[in-house]
Amino acid sequence: MMEKYYEINAPAVISEPMEEELVVINLDSGCYYSLNKTATLLWNQLEQGCSINQAARQMALFYGSDEASVIADFTSFIERLMEEQLIKAGNGDPKDWPLSKERQSEPYLKPSFEKYSDMQEMLLLDPIHEVSEVGWPHQEKK
């Protein structure tokens, strides 16, 4: 099977790691994304030039999970990233082995992101008084 490679849609898309979360911003649309841990690891793998199959193989080893189901998860997640124009097709050139080869004790979670698209609302949202316990951009439930 032909390997598929991707790259981050820079400079319109930027990402900033924050502890176990990755914040991704599409500067053209103003959309803000918060990636979960698996999605963050996958994002790093794509930045390093891994194909879907290479990334899934590493991730399956990392979590001790089934490679075929990880490939299926990654394939559909990458489609979503493409739809959001956060990544684009690229040329593969793996630079590093981004994941530790040691097995993780935590369970594998499907890659996912939360999306916030109302730019004006996000800019005006008071980050002290109008947010939930987890902080901006999570709005307090009224």
Binding site: A10, P11, I14, E16, M18, E19, V23, I25, L27, G30, Y32, M119, M122, L123, L125, P127, I128, H129, V131, E133, V134, G135, W136, P137, H138
Partner: protein, 368 residues
Amino acid sequence: MVKPDELLLLYAILEKNDSMALAYYAKWTQAVDFDNIEGGSFRLLPLLYKRVARTGKSVPHLNRLKGIYRQSLYRNSLLFHKAFKMLAELEKMGVPVILLKGTALIAAYYEDIGARMMNDVDFLVREEDVERTLRFLKEQGWQDRYGLLLNKAAKYIHSLDLKNPDGYELDVHWYAFYQCCWDGADLSLWDRAETAAFKGVSVRLLSPTHQIMHNCAHGIRWNPLSSIRWIVDVLIILEKRAASIDWELLISEAAERKLTVTMLHALSFLNSKFNAGIPEEVLSRLATMRKDPQELRLFAILTSPRRFGDISYKWFIHSDSMGSAPFWEKAVLFPDFLKNFWELQSLHQLPLYVLKRIKQKLTQRRYA
């Protein structure tokens, strides 16, 4: 100059030792009401988050601080993106720009786009490029906040705030220092400017020596929002580029620019409260230099609370430009000065325009 709770906040941010930083943080949270943090302190919360998060400890309000950092990251990223496109166009037109204030500090010193809150992007253009810069920005939809947009560089002001329809703000400077608006005032800034790469873009910045002077001169001004940010800004420049500071240049330019009082005041404060490591010889030389009476008067005006906006500053400029003319003559001509300053067509427009500015300032203050 700095309130006790602000000092605790600054120590929490700047302290190198983790447990000491957390101790200052705990004292600060006891000293303030987290739901009603003063605007000047609020602007430092992204930096506070970074410092506290680095300790790896869970502390009260951590998630809210993290959210404030996220919002700052988001807001600044959009602002940089918008502004850098514009600045790249200016460079293509042959208009070089130097980044100033927060934008420059983020690019060269904080190296973290969310660490320092910004309201606008400040940049300097050469005096001869002001007209075409403003013309270009006007074509791109950037408007003067007061709806006037100057067509020519005003003689007495150093910068102009512009806003676009999406609410982004630019601050175009043609003189870097508001105290130094004369022909050729900034030639040495351009001569010594540095370049740096930030997020894949090459940017031009003031030399570290000029950066310190600029941040001290702006920071020490009285501001309705406590302007304690300049303290962290100058300390980070000193920390990262200590070996590159040309103290001789700072002393000589402080004299030329009539900024000896300002520099002495700011640098002495940093040494006494933060052990900033500024050579004592620099302070004693600044202290013994002759102080120009005009500089002392301007320093007093700029560091005192301004109940009537910048009107005392404008009076100072007007009065200074009329030299030894009698007071009554200066007073009679002051409305005319304001009319020209704000580029109004006639004196009749003045009262309404002043009211409009006051209303705008009050609104800004409420939401700042």
